[in-house]
Symmetry: C2
DNA sequence: AAAGTTTATGCAACTGAGTTGCAAACTAAT
DNA sequence: ATTAGTTTGCAACTCAGTTGCATAAACTTT
């Protein structure tokens, strides 16, 4: 668990057993998962502990959250270098067939021209459609 | 209420008293409002009736819904000509100061290049920042 | 090592948005 | 007026997210 520990400590998160476990699960995922998805990956677990673990991870920018419109926030690992700044933002994709949410990590969010006197802090862009896996 | 009635019937919605009232409230709004916002504009009202009214309006494309990430879906009137097709989609703005959600009706959602074999049905783009009103 | 302090975990209980079922009220057509 | 279809109101429920509090575990200081 040396690697996992390092990832945690480098983000100023104390590496507890619980947190290592959660980080390992998140690392395995090819798609973003919700709190209840995460909960179901344990035989016995406490939702609140997992909830707070995710909150801590997000706060320390180890993961980022995605509101894909399904009603449950999804979470995915950030890149090593990610500081969750506007330049780290990318498009997310929700597949209407398999219901999975993906990070399109290499598709940056296009910049837009806002009306005068509007300032931007953050942008959420979720594309819904059918993923390559589900398109035959 | 002739005008209100016409708007309803032109979208194939039977003009009941309740629906006229809701449409009038929605028409007055400069920003998108949630179900509970709407509920609070009545002295006495039934949340479920308002809920179903909004659902009907949305289904008939009289209004569209916006998931701004606050946890409550917001609703705003569609343009007369709107068919809620991709070409009708526009950017939405959530002000972190006044907590209001606006339609940026004349800012279309920029098109993006998805990975191969991904197809698009819908795009949700919400910009968060400070609106002109709150920027002095 | 023991005592004290901080931090993490587990359990219970709650909030708030959204939703369903069903019966009463209403509307439109015969 | 009778009927059939639609809308409304009330109760009750689901489910994600959240808070409070007590215990457990991890560090700090002596
Ligand atoms: Mn992502
Ligand atoms: Mn809009
Ligand atoms: Zn898919
Ligand atoms: Zn504002």
């Amino acid at each position: 668990m040396k690697d996992t520990d390092d990832k945690l400590t480098s983000r100023n998160i104390k590496p507890t057993a619980m947190r290592e476990l959660v980080l390992d699960i998140l690392t395995e995922q090819k798609m973003a998962i919700s709190l209840s998805d995460l909960e179901q990956k344990f035989h016995k677990s406490d939702k609140v502990t997992l909830y707070r673990t995710l909150k801590t991870f997000e706060e320390k920018k180890l993961i980022h959250s995605i509101d894909d419109g399904t009603g449950a926030i999804k979470y995915a690992l950030c890149k090593e270098t990610c500081q969750c700044h506007p330049e780290d933002l990318h498009v997310h994709f929700f597949c209407l067939k398999c219901q999975h949410t993906f990070c399109l990590s290499n598709i940056p969010i296009p910049s837009i021209n806002l009306p005068v006197n509007f300032s931007v802090e953050n942008i959420n862009m979720v594309v819904k459609g059918v993923c390559s896996n589900c398109n035959d």
